[in-house]
Symmetry: C2
Subunit: 362 residues, 2 copies
């Protein structure tokens, strides 16, 4: 069987050049007679790998010097707890700008476990039933310790394109699904959190980019492994990290630089998304439930107008080596995740399939 | 350069058969046209991988039906918090049987963050200065919620060979460094925790084997990702696990079964350790600071009587493709970690080197 296209929401495709390099040196890293997964995280060799990945991330995202980059475990879900544990004082409150499944999950983790989380429902439907972001709803509450936002909602296919004015309150952003897919101004955020498994590396690494003044306020009962001050103090080596994912992140960051950096990925990703959405919008057979300006460039949600054809659609897709197109169970429909490692050919192949399926089943 | 021997405390060597299989199918798992690291943790293919690893672990460790096996992130350190967060009630107390660095770290995590941790110093020195375990010190306190023990102390090279009578109080054991190295009776424990990276798989997976009646008592502020009841409810897929480490664990478990199971590893590990300790004890040049009956079979700590030769010893070892022999910084000296994947040849090679070094520098 040839190369499959995986449009699943994550873990996701990895650039073939990265995969081939990792395979080649899997048994013998840098001529040391051992694989990178067999080496101590405290060895000089792994230390160089780790520092290189951090340096590349700092360079490609233009992370200012007053921000720490922490490599952790536990995923976005772990950080949904870590954020209030680290920066919400006992008895304090925080704003949550909810635009979909993941910002709502972050809100619930805070509300049910850590304190007063203020819910701001920011997505509405217009007269045609299409979803859009009402940015007017993104207002911070007086005395709030932080405002939480999810910049790209993997499940709902909604992406934030303008940042709220938080009046000096730190803006904490989950970018698990769109980090490194476009340029960002890190200095606009108090902290950025993301799991690696969509746009960067195999699952197992979670990155927190955090402004230094937000470090050192953790609650007494914050587990050490989620305490940003401990992670910062030990250069993310307080305990054994997921060495393979960290190493793969470094390879992927080298690849990103080699193709022209984040700006080039931004250009490619916008072009890929336009191609797909233009086709969906031109069709009477498929439908996108989100207003164009708020659609995610990396998780393209669409439906078949005749939902009774969903099962056969997914079956036929699989026959064409296209997997992961089923939408999230809370939403139904379809979703094509076209992250950094999905080449334009993967989008073109999908559109070709959509056309063929439409002409056969319309 | 040929195959190196890594005697480091972890991450550690992986059986070459396992490494070769993973390398071979790295770009194309089961003919699906994608690597396992590129596939969704919710795909049918990964689900089969995950269930297989769990089943094999249950089989090889003879885990009773009333125990759950949870696959987590965050390492042993994460579980040092998870244990009190899950089973120490507010205002409750727990006993910690301290035999070295890791049990002390677990004790401190509980004491500083979660409640009354009762310290039992269980290691003493005899008249010759050798360390030994005083099992009489392992007494549970009335009203204790659990007793914590570390079965093998990686840093100190001490291994517990007889379990305390806890009078019905759940015994919680850290087996990060000796799980699957010898037969255990899981039913003697309330829970067993271990990181995968020493005897099983690349770092990134932490396993908790826990008796079902201990699940469901987590504190309100326990992060979801460390809450055993949530992990059990979602079959360890509440959030994205470290898929590659989980997959590699399955391959390693298949390898263990193929060579004869845990009993065979126990036999091999005991023989390897005897070989090494017999030599160290016969030498006037090297010294083991621990009484023979309490020495770890997997982390063999020894010193050079003349410590001024430490640096040249490590240099010469590296020239012989032997790495990771430096002892933990809190203890100094040397340490040879000879886990499951270290073949007898690796121990023989080390002894040969020890002899040569002794004859040259004595």
């Amino acid at each position: 069987m040839g190369k499959a296209w995986n449009y699943g929401a994550g873990p996701s495709m990895i650039p073939v050049e990265v995969m081939e390099k990792a395979q080649k040196e899997f048994l013998d890293f840098n001529g040391l007679g051992l694989g990178i997964v067999e080496m101590s995280h405290r060895s000089a060799e792994f230390d160089a790998v780790a520092k290189h990945a951090e340096l590349m991330l700092r360079k490609l995202l233009k992370v200012p010097d007053n921000y720490k980059i922490l490599f952790e475990q536990g995923g976005g879900r772990g950080q949904f707890a870590a954020v209030p544990l680290n920066i919400l004082p006992e008895g304090g409150k925080a704003d949550y700008f909810v635009t979909g499944h993941w910002s709502r999950s972050a809100y619930l983790e805070c509300k049910e476990r850590y304190g007063e989380a203020i819910l701001h429902e920011c997505v509405e439907q217009d007269d045609n039933g299409q979803y859009f972001i009402n940015y007017q709803k993104m207002q911070v509450t007086e005395g709030s310790s932080y405002a939480f936002i999810c910049i790209n909602e993997t499940v709902n296919g909604i992406e934030v394109n303008q940042l709220p004015d938080t009046k000096g309150v730190p803006l904490i952003a989950d970018m698990s699904s769109n980090i490194l897919t476009r340029n960002i101004d890190v200095s606009a955020f108090g902290a950025i959190i993301f799991g690696a498994q969509k746009n960067l590396a195999p699952s197992g690494i979670t990155v927190t980019i955090v402004r230094e003044d937000l470090i050192g306020k953790a609650r007494k009962y914050c587990p050490s492994v989620l305490d940003w001050s401990i992670l910062a103090k030990y250069d993310s080596m307080y305990n054994t990290p997921t060495t393979f994912s960290w190493y793969m992140a470094g390879l992927a960051l080298d690849w990103i630089e080699s193709i022209g950096g984040v700006s080039e990925l931004e250009r490619r990703n916008a072009a890929k998304a336009d191609l797909l959405y233009d086709y969906v919008d031109s069709s009477d057979f498929y439908l996108c439930p989100i207003k164009r300006q708020d659609r995610s460039r990396v998780n393209c949600v669409f439906t078949l107008k005749d939902e009774s054809k969903n099962a056969i659609f997914l079956q036929e897709a699989k026959k064409h080596n296209m997997i992961g197109l089923k939408g999230h169970k809370v939403l139904g429909g379809m979703r094509a995740s076209i992250y950094n490692a999905m080449p334009r050919e993967g989008v073109e192949a999908l559109i070709k399939f959509l056309k063929e399926f439409e002409s056969q089943y319309a």
